[in-house]
């Protein structure tokens, strides 16, 4: 072999080796959520759902012949931690996409880094309405969501309280975080649309142990129901406070009333609380059944009850949505994944729904108003609040962008 030929052969083989290495290199996806503190039941359930979906995809051969590797980070529900993590994931870990965000405040603070780096974010739990509209003034938006936005939940809550159950005097109790205060604004808007002004509007802080003044104000104003926007531990203190005052009116609120730390800490006081849910832990379709069975087997939660079924299901679906987009894009390039998400050719069968064309260039919300149902705390679990919803649960509710007033229609039937 001549020297020239030898160099050629060796350089080709070297190139082949490096090509093989890049093909086998895992696809890094960032996972960000609060795995500690008051929001952790959502964060950990979300992470577990994400892990499960990733495992399944990897066992089936991965995406583009490459395995998915998760880079998990705990943001402790703190905005500043979220910002640090975003920078670390982008600059140091070079993730191709991010799934997660439980807390609206953290999402709003962190997402601009991904927007600037042109890396897609699949927001799978945080519900603040602003989240997918933060970059409306820019030509491209890299933030997608497969959770029910507050703009959907707040009208649902108001419909449930005012239309279905006929309460005319309602009080709003919301925590002082971004989540609570943006949610309160959404509730006010939804109430105003019905021509109702809340009789009391009260705030509380995270870790508050006494809700007496807030509840007394609502009680004195003659509230017939309490609409809540907060997270598990403080919601439980509201329920406990009502027990203490010997005053019990229905609690209707955002989906966080399904959190395990609300149900456990409120005990009997929490029974009957109602909230919009995209997923209820019931094996209503084969897909949901296999999801529940393998979740319970893998993570063995207490009493076979998922800490936050909604977070787990949405976390699980978010990975499948992203994997489908990466596959379609044939690349891990941010703008290409984003373009694929906005025009997904094949439907993705998830746990919450079957995502057929979930996103478009203008619409980054996979969940529409017709998808969530009302859940109720009953016997320390979240069940369907309405018989009719439970019966029809096996019909997968598909995205319908026109569905704005579906709950009202359902109520009239």
């Amino acid at each position: 072999m001549s020297f020239a030929l030898r160099t050629l052969v060796s350089s080709i083989s070297l190139a082949l080796v490096s090509l093989a290495a890049s093909a086998a290199e895992p696809i890094k996806i960032g996972v960000d959520g609060p795995f500690t503190g008051g929001s952790s039941s959502m964060g950990v359930s979300m992470r577990d759902g994400v892990r499960m979906a990733t495992d399944e995809i990897n066992k089936a051969g991965g995406v583009l012949g490459r395995q998915i590797q998760l880079v998990e980070r705990d943001d402790e529900a703190k905005n500043e931690r979220g910002v640090q993590i975003a920078q670390e994931l982008i600059d140091k870990e070079h993730v191709v996409a991010l799934v997660g965000y439980i807390n609206t405040g953290v999402a709003l603070a962190s997402e601009r880094f991904f927007q600037d780096a042109k890396i897609p974010v699949m927001n799978n739990v945080a519900t603040g309405s602003l989240i997918t509209h933060q970059f409306d003034d820019q030509p491209e938006n890299y933030v997608f969501r497969n959770a029910a936005a507050d703009a959907i939940q707040a009208p649902m809550i108001v419909d449930e309280a005012v239309v279905r159950r006929g309460f005319k005097k309602v009080a709003i109790l919301a925590d002082s975080t971004n989540y609570g205060q943006l949610g309160r604004a959404d509730l006010q808007k939804a109430l105003a649309a019905k021509g109702i002004k809340p009789v009391a509007e009260e705030k509380f802080n995270i870790k508050d142990v006494d809700m007496t003044p807030q509840l007394l104000k609502a009680k004195e104003a003659g509230a017939e129901a309490i609409l809540t926007y907060g997270i598990g531990p403080e919601l439980a203190q509201i329920a406990n406070g009502m027990t203490k005052l010997g005053w019990k009116v229905p609690m209707i609120g955002s989906w966080t009333l399904s959190m395990a730390n609300f149900i456990d800490n409120a005990g009997p006081g929490g029974e009957g609380a109602r909230m919009p849910q995209t997923f209820i832990q019931e094996p209503t379709t084969p897909r949901r059944q296999s999801f529940i069975v393998s979740y319970l087997k893998t993570f063995a939660p207490k009493n076979n009850r998922m800490d936050s079924p909604v977070s787990a299901a949405q976390g699980y679906d978010s990975v499948y949505l992203l994997a489908a987009a990466i596959k379609q894009a044939g690349s891990t390039d941010g703008p290409k994944i984003k373009a694929a998400l906005e025009d997904l050719k094949t439907p993705v069968e998830g746990v919450v729904t079957t995502y057929s064309k979930p996103f478009s260039a203008r619409d980054h919300e996979a969940i529409t108003a017709n998808i969530p149902v009302f859940g109720e705390v009953k016997g320390q679990r979240v069940v369907y609040a309405y018989e009719a919803d439970a019966k029809k649960a096996s019909e997968v509710r598909m995205k319908d962008a026109a569905a704005k007033a579906s709950t009202v229609v359902a109520a009239k039937k």
């Binding site: 500690t36 503190g37 008051g38 705030k203 003044p213 007394l216 531990p233 005052l245």
Partner: protein, 292 residues
């Protein structure tokens, strides 16, 4: 009137929670001029140890209290030995601040790993149905907190005034150097006061856990508010912390109702600023003349 009664009752219950923690600050300050900034964490550890005994080992709530107190005392000794004694030895003015904060963070992290990060429910030893008192509702647990805290503080005050050990504590408070010359082992007295202080906190944790939620982060906010109470009432007065606690508790609940729940923490802290400006030793504190 009924509303006001309800607010005052809730304020008293809340205030006594703050007071009993603030009492712990006061105990160590008396002997060593130092504070355990991990007081909130001592409370949290007491509550979580109690929860483990009650929920996991199925022990009776009342029987757990002495065990939790013993645990608290031990924890206080650890804090003093590791965090405070070295600082006192080298006469460092501020070393103990950082070291007690550091120990507090370490305890919190340990608790997060042992007990998890979620808030847990502490089964209530008393019925959870409210009692009616003067037209207002009170939980039996709240009464227990108020009377338990008072009983504990009275016991400690009695101890300080009537027993020889207590007299050693008071002597150390009055003049550490003179007490040393009189043959009092002031080092041991300081250790003892830390043990007593953490014992108080652990006991408080056990008392309030059924009312609040129990978890690794429960101590942080309470510890901070109790510190404000200790400043308002005076770091040298047992009576002061009780009054300070009641003021802050009632201010919080009634501001929340009459002004706005968004501002409920403000009056207490404004009071803190006023007290610091006009009576830096606290409402009931003795103004110490520091000779330099």
């Amino acid at each position: 009137m009924q509303i006001l009664t309800q607010l005052v009752f809730s304020g008293i219950a809340l205030g006594m929670i703050y007071a009993v923690i603030a009492f712990g600050y006061q105990l160590t300050f008396q002997t060593s001029d130092t504070l355990n900034f991990g007081q909130g964490e001592a409370l949290m550890l007491g509550a979580l140890v109690g929860l483990t005994l009650v929920a996991t080992f199925g022990m009776n709530y009342w029987l757990c209290i002495p065990i939790v107190c013993a645990f608290g005392a031990l924890q206080g000794v650890v804090v003093e030995r590791i965090g405070v004694r070295p600082a006192i030895k080298i006469k460092s003015e501020f070393g103990w601040i950082m070291s007690t904060i550091a120990l507090g963070i370490i305890f919190k992290n340990v608790a997060e790993n042992v007990w998890g990060r979620d808030d847990l429910k502490f089964p209530s030893p008393l019925p959870e149905a409210p009692l009616h008192l003067l037209g207002a509702n009170v939980l039996p647990m709240e009464l227990l907190v108020v009377f338990g805290a008072l009983a504990l503080m009275l016991a400690v005050e009695f101890f300080n005034r009537r027993t020889i050990w207590g007299k050693a504590v008071v002597a150390t408070f009055n003049d550490r150097e003179a007490a040393k010359l009189m043959g009092i082992n002031t080092g041991r007295v300081i250790t003892f006061s830390y043990a007593l202080s953490s014992l108080t906190a652990a006991f408080a944790g056990m008392l309030i856990a059924p009312l609040t939620l129990t978890g690794a982060t429960m101590g942080a906010v309470l510890g901070l508010k109790a510190f404000a109470v200790a400043i308002i009432g005076g770091l040298t007065s047992g009576l002061g912390v009780v009054v300070g606690g009641l003021i802050l508790g009632i201010a919080e609940t009634s501001t929340g109702y009459y002004i706005s729940t968004g501002y409920k923490d403000v009056p207490g802290l404004v009071l803190l600023l006023i007290v610091l400006a006009y009576k830096p030793a606290g409402l009931f504190g003795k103004t110490a003349i520091k000779k330099v």
